[in-house]
Subunit: 377 residues, 4 copies
């Protein structure tokens, strides 16, 4: 089986998707092979040049073309966030499967619209929550679900980077609510929110505080100071439906943190600690270890963990961020074949956006907000 | 100059104080020498036996005796929390300097009463917030105040231990509000609250959520299940007067954490990360390091940091928790001589208790609570 | 420009090469595109099946075919070690460029033969020393050569894994000197030896001790105990021509070590520490940091380091072991275009094998052996 | 029971001993109480001043006085290395128990002389190998002896500091063979040599290479360059009588290392890793952990490990270097009462010096040297 991909966008994520689409068949020989059919960039020359380099057989400067093209099976959206909605709706309307970078949309309502459209059309969907695809996150879920660390007591998560720590960094689209959404919460928070619910089930309530530390930034052209419209930091108290409390914290100005997606989960018989900057390690504390022998174990990813062996038969040799994208693409391909949803599909994309909206609302009203899925319709 | 100490209590902290009182003169030869005059324990035999072992010249089973004893200069209170108030007030009334383990009292009002009494009496006071005395905490303060890491953006603190993680652990005084106060918040939180304000100045507002995960515990005698009256976990959003947000999290049920007093402070030019379980290290990210050369530095405590050299002239050889107590005692002795307050005096003890009260109140009302010192009177 | 590859071998390394050949053009669009022309496996069905999955246009069960095929530009050898010599010589004789997994051969003399043949034929050659291709190893070299850490005093390297730690692990080809060479020294040591000379220049003398800890292992079929012919551990004292001493240690039975290729380099103004299990980090101690501010910095790989940005524009997101192979392939492709040798070419392959031979000889004679390149001819 | 101590020397170690002598009775109430009887320093004023501060009842500028004093039970020698011999012999001749900082003497012959004298006199002896006294080293021994990590395969130790890394550091007594002995090997190596044999039993052979990197240093007065007489680095291949190989490496010029006494021990069922810079942690790899759950555990010192609880009943709170000295003193006091030798007595002091001599000899002759205890007489 072969699936033809049309990829829109040639930035950070566009390239990552292209690499993954090209290597997935070698890494996972038993899934359908994606064909790199059309690469789309608004700049026709760039589209042409990169299509050749990246191995696409065709290119275009008009994304509507790939929605209209009957050869295309999957539309892959790697454009800036504010373009996701229009493209996803068009692709769904054309009956394409859709693979979309996070966030699905800029608001919860938009995300819901897209999700409902995909449901109605019966197409397969997938979101770019690649950190989820780490074999060690799968291990964490297995450890939690099997009861190895007992009843879960607490979740303590954070995602910190420093890409906007410098107060002199110029104003950009990231500072606009209409394009960058809610800042750190949208950029970083969405990854952790999705992962937290994957690991521990749905949240039931959130209470947040958000801060715009750098309230103005210089316009890159005029150098005049412009008002930043979204937040650098979001801090959240939360509860899960399973009855355990938690916290989450997101920052785009945490000097020194480069990919600091971290969590600690405490249970009655043990704990788990993860840090994406050391993505090939997870730390497990097993209360069942002998007296005087207990401590956090640093488990290195290896072939005994799901999907690792497809990349490398030797433990501890290390996967990279692009390898997670390969797993993400494999999940999508498999879901199309199996006609079963992947975990991070548009339902999750909408759920995450709903939670983002609730966190913003909590901050505005300085109140707890109920986020039980039953409230979500 | 010589100062006679009467020490009440022979448990964990009593012994730690005794060790510190005995070694402080050797470590810091230039401060007044404390004399170990009287050791008090309600169990007369225990008092006698330990007085001999610990080097006290006298002993008693009645703490009122040392308050009444004109030879005694300093009353050192290491008893269970609910006894602090009565003893401190009696010692102050007798004109003694008072050294009290944290918390100063069980409520903010009681703490205020004690603080006011000490102020009126003009005695020197000191609280047992020993983690503060770490040379690397002093370094952190110096780095923050000198502007080395720029404008401070965020504080992210936690203090997690696991001494009550096991759901089968029997009911004890720690589970009673009248004796154990607010649980993890009182036991652990007070240390971090005090440290946070030492480093970043006063907080202005708090919003909290607290959880009793193990709602019942077996009575150690009857084995009947008893209601736990205080909280295992406290999670706090906060703001500092200087304008930076923060979070704090306390847990006594975080499996695997043994002395997990941690913080991360992010500034515009760098960050600091500390973990008490590695108390001889602090991590500094300096944004001023060269391109491609930036990263968190692990600074090992050494003689170039305040007070370290008194223990050891060689860097990286490591201080221990009892050494921090020696520094704490030195601070108290020095403050008596200099007639200048130490940082962690009863004013701070009251401030901390005020914040504990506000955090409890925020949890009850599910609202932000103003904690500006101006509100505190 | 296009280069046609014939790949021999479908094991661990065969797959890694296939993944790299397929993604290199996307990651590095400016180098010649490799065409996956023919995949060779002695098992014809396997060759056919995998050729389809891995994207090869042809397949064969006879490696001589690709040497004879005028369409093939590069012969890529990923077969067991004892087959390297015959295949490499045949490929060179046919005027092909050759890309060979390490070790180049089983003995120094064989390696020299192959190197001389390649030199005479004027073909480009490359060895599979992928760890070398890590952007952080490039950074280490840059730091050393620029004098940032001053005069180099010492090299302390090790490569430890535990794939044969279990005494019950059955006898295999790895236990035979004719196929597994000198055991840990050949399997693991060759990587570090090459890296050490890349970083610090040629070694001048070695003194070694080697140990076969598990002297017998059960035959997988008969279960009879068979004599292991090569060593589990090799330990080496050494000197570099630049005048600095060093040590190296290799073990295939170091329980818990999965990819423990580590080094520490001390200089008069700083030090470097690397551990392949955390391949996206390198630790730098800069003696020029301020008093009380010195410590090892953990530098995370990022786009400011060579080649990283081609994979990901965001720092700290992490490369994986297969990404290093992509860089290795890029180096080969570039060297063919530029007609300039890569660092890890057959000259290095021979040098490494010469050093392996000298280390074995030192062990046998319990004497220092001169290994200056001038002795090597 | 009471034991009167006369302490000679008031430097780094003199102060550390004084602190330990003063606190040992509080920490360990069940051992005999040492009385701080006389403090000796060649500078009479210094002796007087420090005696008062450190709590000694008497002082002297003549060390012969305490040997002659019938009140003195134990002579404690903390003077520069070249004075140990004369003082120890005099104290033994006077029938005193002797507590001596390492090294016991400057040569193996001298050490043997002292050891024989002490044996003949029947006095108790103890060496200042304080790192040995760490509760986690005791744990390591227990883990090794119980077979928890199986048959031991390899020992990999190092002790690196950087106190002489700066080439501009002036010439001092440490650079003289007559006073500083063999440099890094004497200063640092002796600690690790003793610890290695404590953990794994006697060594049987050594092969070494030693290097004086900074061959000259400026005289602090004349600024003329003087020849350094001993070595900055010593690197050793070795074998233990139990049949396992090992390596050791010592450096006083390893930039960034402050107290880097490290070892890794590999066994058939697990491994142990220790680093004195994180003296409250030991890392254990247990091969018996479940598939996909294996990794190095970081065990924090706690009350379940020997001697820790005497300092602190709570785990993970951390001991410091001076606490190890308290344990060392306790061991000596206990040995006097029990009339049983401590592990690190003068027999060990001589053994260590014998090994130091053998390592020097191996370096000079570039040969393996037999060091089996049977050779030692």
């Amino acid at each position: 089986m072969n699936l033809n991909f049309g990829l829109i966008g040639t930035g950070f994520m566009g390239k990552a998707h292209a690499i993954a689409l090209r290597s997935v068949a070698t890494v996972f020989p038993h899934v359908p092979t994606p064909s790199l059919t059309t690469l789309v960039d608004a700049d026709r020359n760039k589209a042409k040049l990169l299509a050749a380099g990246w191995g696409f057989s065709g290119f275009s400067d008009d994304w509507n073309r790939i929605c209209a093209d009957p050869e295309i099976d999957v539309v892959d959206i790697c454009t800036p966030n504010h373009l996701h909605r229009e493209m996803a709706l068009a692709a769904i309307a054309a009956g394409k499967h859709v693979y979309c970078e996070k966030p699905l949309a800029l608001t919860s309502d938009e995300a819901r619209e897209i999700w409902l459209a995909a449901e109605a059309a019966g197409v397969s969907t997938s979101m770019g929550f690649n950190y989820m695809c780490n074999p060690l996150i799968e291990l964490a879920r297995e450890i939690i679900e099997s009861g190895e660390i007992g009843e879960i007591f607490n979740f303590r998560g954070s995602y910190q980077e420093d890409y906007m720590a410098d107060p002199q960094m110029p104003f950009s689209w990231r500072c606009l609510r209409s394009q960058g959404g809610s800042g750190a919460l949208a950029d970083l928070g969405t990854h952790l929110i999705n992962m937290a619910e994957y690991l521990l089930g749905p949240m039931s309530a959130v209470m947040s505080s958000m801060s715009t530390v750098h309230k103005q930034r210089p316009d890159p052209v005029s150098e005049a100071m412009r008002e930043v419209e979204n937040e650098d930091i979001a801090q959240v108290l939360l509860a899960f439906e399973r009855g355990c409390p938690g916290t989450m914290e997101f920052s785009r100005i945490a000097s020194g943190r480069k990919c600091g997606l971290c969590f600690e989960i405490n249970g009655s018989r043990g704990s788990l600690v993860f840090d994406q900057e050391r993505m090939n390690e997870i730390r497990l504390y097993a209360g069942s270890d002998g007296v005087g022998r207990r401590g956090f174990r640093t488990i290195l990813a290896g072939p005994e963990h799901r999907d690792y062996a497809a990349f490398c038969p030797a433990p501890g040799h290390g996967l990279g961020i692009n390898d997670l994208k390969v797993i993400e693409v494999r999940n999508l391909l498999q879901s199309i074949v199996d006609k079963k949803p992947v975990y991070s599909n548009f339902a999750n994309g909408y759920r995450v956006q709903f939670l983002v909206g609730a966190i913003e609302q909590s901050h505005q009203h300085k109140q707890w907000v109920d986020v039980a899925p039953s409230r979500q319709n």
